[in-house]
């Protein structure tokens, strides 16, 4: 019995591999735009050679624009309500320099740290960092202790306070677990941008760049090479995957 199953899987894998090669060959120019390294076959695990990251230019971020938040809510099936118990993966943060009154508006989300405190403190290992640097909550083993919420310096996490129904099939979420921005991992795994980035691009602000920080030729790396960028709470040395410009 097991033999046949494995054979089938093997067969299927081979088929997929050839399929992937053929598909890649036909659209090779498009693939090259983002670098071949990113296209990953479904059966291929996330690679440690990649580190997904984001560069946010607060000077381009529209004051009062909330498109990234709305797109995030739609993609992840969040209610969009903003009560104290409601989930928010991404929020627009308005900051004002107390010395000179200069104001900035910027999206704040999980910073996908290289050394994430949430992962360190999680008793079961539900809070985890994927090989490609995306910090996630494995809801299968999250016990809902909320210690990660205590530990996160960015207030990036929310707790699901109520039973949920009609979730997005690609974004399972439910009562009693902690959750946060996943960089839209379901989209990233098929080589798309996170929903917030696409929303920001399509409204013309282009304030958010997403890509592989390990690839010196990726747009996000190139932008970081030409202009200075900052980490939020750099003093903590968490080496965040999300960087900001213009603050």
């Amino acid at each position: 019995m097991n033999d046949t199953v494995e054979n089938k899987v093997e067969e299927r894998r081979n088929f997929l591999k050839t399929g992937a090669v053929v598909a890649a060959a036909t659209v090779a120019p498009g693939v090259l735009m983002y670098g071949v390294a990113h296209s990953r076959a479904p059966e291929e695990a996330a690679s440690g050679n990649v580190r997904w990251g984001m560069l946010i230019d607060s000077s381009k971020c529209g004051d009062g624009c909330n498109d990234c938040v709305t797109a995030c809510n739609t993609e992840n099936g969040l209610s969009g309500e903003t009560g104290p118990q409601d989930t928010q993966y991404i929020r627009k943060l308005d900051i004002k320099d107390l010395r000179n009154g200069r104001v900035h508006s910027l999206p704040m989300l999980c910073q996908h740290c290289e050394n994430p405190p949430c992962v360190d403190v999680c008793p079961t290992g539900a809070s985890m960092k994927r090989a490609d640097g995306i910090v996630l909550v494995d809801r299968h083993i999250c016990i809902g202790c909320r210690y990660c919420m205590m530990a996160c310096p960015y207030k990036a996490r929310s707790f699901v306070h109520e039973p949920l129904t009609d979730q997005n099939p690609e974004v399972p979420r439910g009562k009693g677990c902690v959750e946060s921005c996943t960089f839209c991992v379901q989209r990233v795994d098929r080589d798309e941008n996170p929903a917030c980035v696409d929303a920001c691009n399509s409204n013309g602000h282009m304030a958010m760049l997403f890509g592989d920080l390990n690839d010196p030729q990726s747009p996000v790396s190139l932008a970081m090479q030409t202009q200075p960028s900052t980490e939020v709470r750099a003093d903590l040395r968490l080496n965040t995957g999300v960087r900001y410009q213009g603050i």
């Binding site: 104290p84 403190v121 999680c122 290992g125 530990a151 310096p153 207030k155 707790f159």
Partner: protein, 401 residues
């Protein structure tokens, strides 16, 4: 008549025993009701939210756990440091430690978002997490103190009690270090983030544990129409006084350190001056009720002869302990995370504002359940076994010398 009110002798009338058990049982039942309600509807019914993620249940749970490790100190002084007076109290101390830890842990578990996954918590360990280490320490505590109790109460195993007692002592120091470090290791929050948390929790556990012990001991003596020997009373009350003073000292050092660091000023201003309920609970609850008043009571001339005064002081220390946990746990979260120092922050996600917390009845029920469990276990244990301290007064004299 004398027997009528006893609860630790098999032959006495059981009315009081059942009444106490019923009372404790009701509290436990109500917390179970709260648990099932929350399990069904989710934490939406509580006052906890994405800002105040740990609320009243954690205040009760952490207090019980810290006091549980502290109450074992009475046994440790006997077994490890060889004081006869305390050795006679070792069984009661060990039993109280176990029942309070059970109560505290129960609350912690019942408040989980997924309490049904307790097995996961026991089978998946992230060893970098101090929280995971706590689970190991809690479970080990049950085993070691359980064993310790057996060696204390079984004649044949009595010779092992010193060794096991020593292990139990080391274990409880590790446990409270880990509990304090749950907060101490929180790198991002100004209210925690201090190595002082671990030793401060240990010294506070001494005070809270001894206070609980004195309270239970006094009640047990009263019910048996026995009078606690004055020498014992004086020594134990003085020890409590020392622990309270040490707790106050640590509190002062903790806040002085913060006051010296410019980046911590705003937090200190919040806790010490402008924090509303947290400021009030800090000064009135933790400092006055939990520190200064009991110190005055314990070291006033009358306390040498008055079990009543010592008992009131012990009660105040417990109240102060709950206040301290409230200020530490909830107050520490009420003060917002600072993402951009030097900037004013605002968002839809409650950035830059003092977070509000209004606990609902469910949280009280859950938290009191922990106290209820500890109480019920104690009542049963005291009834079923001889936990009343058996003092050897001759030995006490040599102890004095």
């Amino acid at each position: 008549m004398a027997n009528e009110n006893c609860i630790n002798q098999q032959e006495c009338k059981p009315t009081q025993f059942w009444a106490l058990l019923g009372l404790g049982g009701l509290v436990v039942l109500s917390s179970l009701y709260a648990f099932f309600t929350l399990e069904h509807h989710g934490h939406v019914l509580t006052g906890m939210n994405n800002q105040i993620v740990w609320g009243l249940p954690h205040v009760f749970a952490v207090f019980l756990i810290v006091a549980a490790s502290g109450v074992l100190n009475v046994a440790s002084i006997g077994s490890v440091f060889g004081k006869k007076l305390y050795k006679a109290r070792a069984p009661l101390s060990g039993m109280l430690a176990l029942s309070m830890l059970a109560g505290g842990l129960a609350v912690l578990v019942l408040d989980l978002g997924r309490p049904d996954r307790l097995v996961v918590a026991m089978t998946y360990y992230n060893f970098k997490s101090i929280f995971a280490w706590n689970m190991i320490f809690y479970n080990g505590f049950f085993a070691i103190v359980g064993l310790y109790l057996i060696t204390l109460m079984d004649r044949n195993l009595k010779s092992y009690s010193t060794t096991v007692g020593f292990i139990a002592f080391l274990w409880r120091i590790a446990l409270t270090t880990a509990t304090g470090s749950i907060f101490g290791f929180l790198v991002a929050r100004v209210g925690y983030n201090s190595a002082l948390m671990a030793p401060m929790f240990i010294i506070m556990s001494f005070a809270y544990g001894l206070a609980v012990f004195l309270l239970v001991q006094t009640v047990m003596y009263k019910w048996n129409n026995l009078a606690l020997d004055e020498r014992i009373l004086i020594r134990m009350k003085n020890l409590l006084g020392v622990f309270i003073a040490a707790s106050l000292y640590f509190t002062v050092v903790f806040h002085l350190t913060n006051l010296y660091f410019a980046k911590q000023w705003e937090f200190e201003r919040f806790i010490l001056l402008e924090g509303g309920v947290y400021t009030m609970v800090f000064w009135i609850g933790q400092i006055i009720i939990g520190g200064i008043l009991p110190l005055l009571l314990l070291f006033s001339p009358g306390a040498r002869h008055s079990t009543g005064m010592v008992m009131v002081a012990a009660l105040l220390v417990i109240l102060g302990g709950m206040s301290q946990m409230f200020v530490t746990i909830v107050g520490g979260q009420a003060y917002p995370l600072v993402l951009f120092p030097g900037y004013q922050e605002s968002s839809t996600f409650y950035d830059g504002v003092i977070n509000t917390y209004t606990p609902t009845i469910w949280e009280y029920m859950l938290g009191m359940g922990g106290v209820g469990i500890a109480f019920v276990l104690t009542v049963i244990a005291v009834r079923a076994f001889k936990f009343l301290p058996q003092d050897d007064f001759k030995a006490l004299e040599t102890d004095d010398a």
